[in-house]
Symmetry: C2
């Protein structure tokens, strides 16, 4: 077979070249034309779109690779998906789906005839049409390629536990400059050739980005080769622009890479593997930017330069010379050979297509189709803590989740993974190691613990890799969880946002199967980063997730282990959401029995009557609300102090688990009904709300609720350092003493004893300060220590 594969037959060459020309023709058509799609008549200005948008430069390279990958599929039956890192080459991928027929199967209006082709052109990059990038609307794609940097992480995630799949991932030389991309070549250090599929990266060096050359394109090719050999790859280079020479060489390069992959996998799957990390193949393709397009325009070199990045011929409606060049350009592909009289792709073109689901534009993996449909989630009640009474026992809540995740691993040996930057044990999720090691394909020593090439727990010190792998894993239909330190969730916040956008758009497409949710567990939170200090204290991701569309964004702040289990059960079973779950890993007070927790989480929040002192028959004098574990403890403590010291003050305690229950139902589907909201918060009583994150998050969520001004939110106001958990609450003015004073100051009436109690609270805080200041006098006053001033949004 080897010789067949690496040698392009005449028939193959004809098919591939026809398909490629057809694709390039359709690409140019999408960018330029709104009528006369088959050039049946000479091109006139009115056939050209009034506004020219799109990216030509990368497109011919993308379609060339697509055509040659399709040949491999045809000849071998290999299952393959295609990820276009240069996603702005959208028209090439849309054209590929059209030529393969999948586009028409997905969008029946875009028929494979002249009228359909006109629609294909018209819709591109037009209002009401499709985006100019490869996007969620593109059949066969799991990768947008809008924000650059993630094509390899998506590809590696897609092939994990997907042994029969190859993900061909094109890396543009612009994208190759980004940090996340450079950090993602190391995916092979975590891949198991027996159990996982393979990624075939193609670094497409066409020399330029928007406005200039790229680093890799201008480095000595020997240096580039060394770089990727250093990353662990076998580098297969192909370059040029001669035809048909390039077809032969690209075919040989892809076939060589393919055969090498098969050789590696075969060895690993039949016992012939020494266990060392294979040198996986990759291809470096050097071809001109804007290849086959206009060479020189108005006396300036365009092809092969950054000028070919977007629209190489401008002002075509007004410039007859440019119009003629456009027509020549399109006719250079000889459309009459490529499309029949009816406009449908002709036989020579169709010969290049693989069959049915093997077509890359129709592969089920790219539509959440790999893996089992349903995750086998164990009964979360099996991991519940026995909570006899609220606040009487302490436990590390995430440890219970760890046990649940271990059992989830056990029951889903091919469909579930945990992704975590080196912190699985630190986050108390280490029970998973009873079932699976950490994945590691580099050398392992006898002294290593829970680390092997067969492991399926993904630890790499890169939030970008963890997040992106999970995206690729879920977009191909499998399930997982990304657990990370709360503050460093901001490192991958851009990925969280872009994935949210993907899910938002995806949910509007009936043909898209909703992928399993992206579950993010934030632990080691701002309030309990005792020994790491200020750089590790930041609840910022909440700010970003609440701004996304309500159809996708979910934020949960379980106050204890049993609530966490209930939330996790929901998150793991769900599809199409970004579930952000925030809870600390340190030992913490436990509040609810598992039955109470289930009911509490189902409602999203509720009155904790055992904590408060109101009796439900009349409105309370003040509501103490809370969301988040540490602030919940302070709230319950404050309520206890008030109950003891001011027994006649009616204090209601409300705990909120589901943050998106706070907005109005019209603003978010989880928004609690107005009647429930009033049941909890009344419509006029002041609410002192202790919040885990920045106070402004709650202020914006309750906007529109009855008299939202009465919500006085306390939370993280960006005060922190290496200090005790209690001191953190003091610095951020959410301590029990602050909450007691806030409650008194905002209560509807002032019972006797209130002034004394406030004075007592001040005294407690003074004692705390004295203790710290005593400490300080013993130590350098490296920072002026005084009560922090209020932060933004606090009121």
């Amino acid at each position: 077979m080897a010789s067949d594969l690496t040698q392009l037959t005449d028939a193959d060459l004809a098919a591939i070249d026809a398909w490629w020309r057809a694709n390039n023709y359709l690409t140019v058509g999408q960018i330029y034309l709104q009528a006369n799609p088959l050039l049946r008549e000479p091109l006139r200005p009115e056939h050209v779109k009034p506004r020219l948008l799109g990216h030509w430069g990368t497109s011919p390279g993308l379609s060339l690779l697509f055509a040659h990958a399709s040949r491999l599929i045809r000849l071998t039956g290999q299952e393959m998906i295609y990820l276009a890192g240069p996603g702005h080459g959208g028209p090439a991928l849309v054209a590929a789906g059209y030529l393969e027929g999948a586009y028409t199967e997905t969008y029946p209006e875009v028929t494979q005839d002249e009228e359909g082709m006109r629609r294909l052109f018209r819709q591109f990059s037009a209002p009401g049409g499709i985006p100019s990038h490869v996007s969620v609307t593109t059949p066969g794609s799991i990768h947008e390629g809008g924000e650059l940097g993630y094509v390899l992480v998506h590809a590696f995630g897609a092939v994990m536990d997907n042994p029969d799949l190859i993900a061909l991932a094109v890396v543009g030389d612009g994208e190759a400059e980004t940090g996340p991309l450079e950090g993602s070549w190391k995916g092979i250090s975590f891949l198991n050739p027996a159990r996982d599929g393979a990624v075939l990266p193609v670094l497409h060096l066409n020399g330029a980005k928007i406005a200039g050359p790229t680093v890799l394109a201008r480095k000595d090719p020997a240096e580039v080769r060394r770089l990727f050999e250093g990353h662990g790859y076998e580098v297969i280079e192909v370059s040029g622009e001669d035809l048909p020479g390039m077809h032969h060489r690209v075919a040989e390069a892809l076939a060589t890479a393919y055969l090498r992959i098969k050789e590696i996998q075969e060895a690993a799957r039949t016992g012939g593997w020494d266990g060392r990390r294979p040198r996986w193949p990759m291809v470096v393709l050097r071809s001109p930017k804007g290849w086959t397009g206009p060479d020189v325009v108005d006396g300036t070199q365009v092809a092969g330069t950054w000028r070919a990045h977007q629209v190489p011929l401008s002002g075509v409606r007004d410039n007859l010379e440019h119009l003629a060049m456009l027509e020549d350009w399109m006719r250079s592909y000889r459309p009459e050979e490529l499309f029949g009289n009816d406009g449908a792709p002709a036989a020579p073109v169709l010969a290049a297509n693989p069959d049915g689901p093997l077509r890359m534009s129709a592969h089920p993996a790219a539509n959440a189709g790999s893996g089992k449909d349903e995750l086998v989630v164990p009964d979360f009640r099996d991991f519940a803590l026995d909570v006899a009474a609220p606040g009487t026992s302490r436990a590390e809540s995430t440890r219970q989740l760890g046990a649940m995740l271990a059992e989830t691993y056990r029951r889903n040996p091919h469909d579930f993974r945990l992704f975590c930057p080196d912190e699985t044990n630190s986050n108390r999720l280490g029970a998973v190691f009873d079932v699976s090691d950490r994945a590691f394909a580099e050398s392992v020593t006898a002294a290593d613990v829970s680390l092997s090439r067969d492991g399926r727990v993904m630890e790499v010190l890169s939030e970008h890799n963890c997040h992106g792998w999970l995206e690729g894993y879920t977009l191909t239909g499998r399930h997982g969880l990304f657990a990370t330190y709360e503050a460093f969730a901001m490192v991958s916040a851009a990925q969280t946002i872009q994935h949210s956008k993907w899910l938002e758009e995806s949910s509007a497409l009936s043909w898209r199967k909703p992928p399993p949710s992206l579950n993010i567990l934030l632990t080691s939170t701002a309030w309990r980063n005792d020994h790491n200090g200020f750089s590790h204290q930041g609840p910022g991701l909440i700010q970003n997730v609440i701004a996304q569309r309500g159809s996708v964004s979910r934020v949960y702040l379980p106050p204890d282990a049993n609530c966490l289990l209930s939330v996790a059960d929901h998150a793991l079973r769900s599809r199409g959401y970004v579930n952000l779950v925030v809870i600390d890993k340190q030992p913490q007070l436990q509040w609810l029995s598992i039955d109470d927790a289930v009911e509490h989480c189902a409602r999203g929040g509720g009155v904790w009557s055992w904590a408060g002192s109101d009796d439900d028959t009349v409105d309370p004098d003040v509501v103490l609300a809370c969301a988040g574990d540490v602030v919940t403890m302070e709230t319950v403590a404050a309520a206890a102090i008030l109950k003891e010291r001011l027994p006649r003050l009616r204090v209601r305690v409300v705990n909120v688990v589901d943050l998106m229950a706070l907005p109005r139902p019209v603003d978010h589907p989880h928004g609690m009904a107005d009647t429930l909201f009033r049941e909890l918060f009344t419509d006029h009583v002041d609410v002192v709300f202790a919040f885990h994150g920045y106070p402004g998050a709650v202020h914006q969520l309750v906007h529109g609720r009855p008299d939202a001004d009465r919500f006085h939110v306390r939370g993280f106001i960006e005060e922190g350092t290496t200090t005790t958990p209690f001191d953190m609450t003091v610095r951020n003015r959410t301590s029990r003493y602050h909450l007691v004073m806030d409650a008194i100051n905002n209560a509807g009436r002032t019972p006797s004893g209130a002034t004394e109690l406030k004075r007592w609270c001040e005294e407690q805080l003074r004692l705390h300060h004295e203790h710290v200041i005593a400490h300080l006098e013993d130590m350098p006053a490296v920072r002026d220590w005084s009560l922090p001033v209020p932060g933004p949004g606090e009121g």
Copy 2:
């Protein structure tokens, strides 16, 4: 000199070894002891801290490198700063400053005697003390090393335009796994050996991170070498744990690297350079994690494994065996040789220190001390647009800024740089190329435009590099601007947050000179990403910046060119802030003359009486407020419609430039006084606020203002695609027609004609829809197109 430098003399060896032992002793002391610092008596449990925090594993490597770099400085007079990527090795850097005397100069209470040493130990990682990481409190540091990934970008930024400086940057093998770090080796592709200083990266492979081995530590060393040769470096390797062998080899490695740097610079500065990118040296140091610490504890190997990462001996107060091991460990450094009777560092230790400002813990560059004190900012009025009347002319506002930046380049040839991911021209800032090319050290061809090794405009397709370089550039005292696409500002949002935290803490330290502000210009905004679509539409960074401390965070939304110039003037002159400036690059209506703009920006916002229909003598019926360019246009248009169609309705138009003028003064120093707020917004009239970003941002900022519930904010509600700018406002319900209807619905009274006008608006929107739907019927309905439902936080 070469032979002197690479050969360690006996005297040097003695000094370095003594200094290193002293540093290790102080490091262990900081982690463990609260009393008996000199071990004058046998160690007892009460001498040990009750809670053991800190990171031992990386520390001996950090201090070894510090000692050897100091030797180079002593022997050559080289100016050097030290950046500890593994910033959790904080105690080693604190100990270095203490041994060099800079710590005591900075914090006089921490004397160089027994009592001072006790304080040094006590304060470490304790409430009221100092963080466990290298941080802003550490003299000589510009790098926190809390959130990993940025040590090389900070180092490269520090040496740009700093020809005499070498930044020694230690990269931990954990950090080396992150995307931002992997993407930052390419700094040398932008460095000019004649004009810039040099970065000397030391990749410190000690084999493990928190819980397991690292990728680079477990790869074949030949592969690692290839990787960095591929990045363009000359790799100098040194490894082992034998003493004094390692001292000799490390001295040789650092000296070789140093001499190579000097050779490169000498050639470049004396005309002996061929212009090709030099192969800059780097060092790969392999030494055991936790070197010189406990080898085996309780029968388990600790040194050399991840178990040495934090505190290798635990439970020391309760475990006499561990206590004895701790004492043996500390005594193994022979403290009696290292500290005098009074506890001060002894002569053999002091012999290792460079003098005065050459000490790395005291180098002025690490305290914003490089470059000129004041940026020479040209008169921004010179670039003003002539605006005869509001809304009568269009211009690309950022083009005026580009002209101002070009002049800023001209007047500050060594102290100002623009950083931008490949979009300087796209963002209309291309005038800077009249003064300076893009920097590029890889090969340049004749066809390249504005690209040379002498260029000082920094373009790399990596937000992480751009942001981080600017941080390093400003933290060493120089000035700059980071310009990027709005949506992709989230890629580097974590850096924005961490830098804010640095500035927040820095401002509380009197010895820290405030660095020039970090200026971020966001352009190509959500509203005008016509051809890129949804992935390019996201105003998320505002959400994060407004949550930072008011002492640092600034957000400006200039509505036109003259306001942008006024804001830019302020931002470029300022120190200690993160200035976020948001404005689009497309042609847009101009509103204010330069004089009006200056006054408007100084107040932060104001009434645009020419746009509204109220007369100042009585309260208006409704306020139309706006912040951001596109929504300002819609607001003015809405007011014009209302003025024409409902002349009796009193509509006030308020434009806000300085977003942080909205909060109360108690919440932000820019918060406008209550009287001014009432002058603009009254205290009871409903406000329809059209906002550039997510509506929730404004809702949270006005919280606490009189009757904040009356603010009805419209903004980006996460609706977008490739579409026209006007359609974007329709989809996000901020169009002029929506605003007119909102104004009527929220006005204090309903003048006659209101119902008709609302109907007319609905008709306009219907026509718009029809137009789009007509389009759609002509095209595949790839997405259900209907009026978007309200998004989160809209009300």
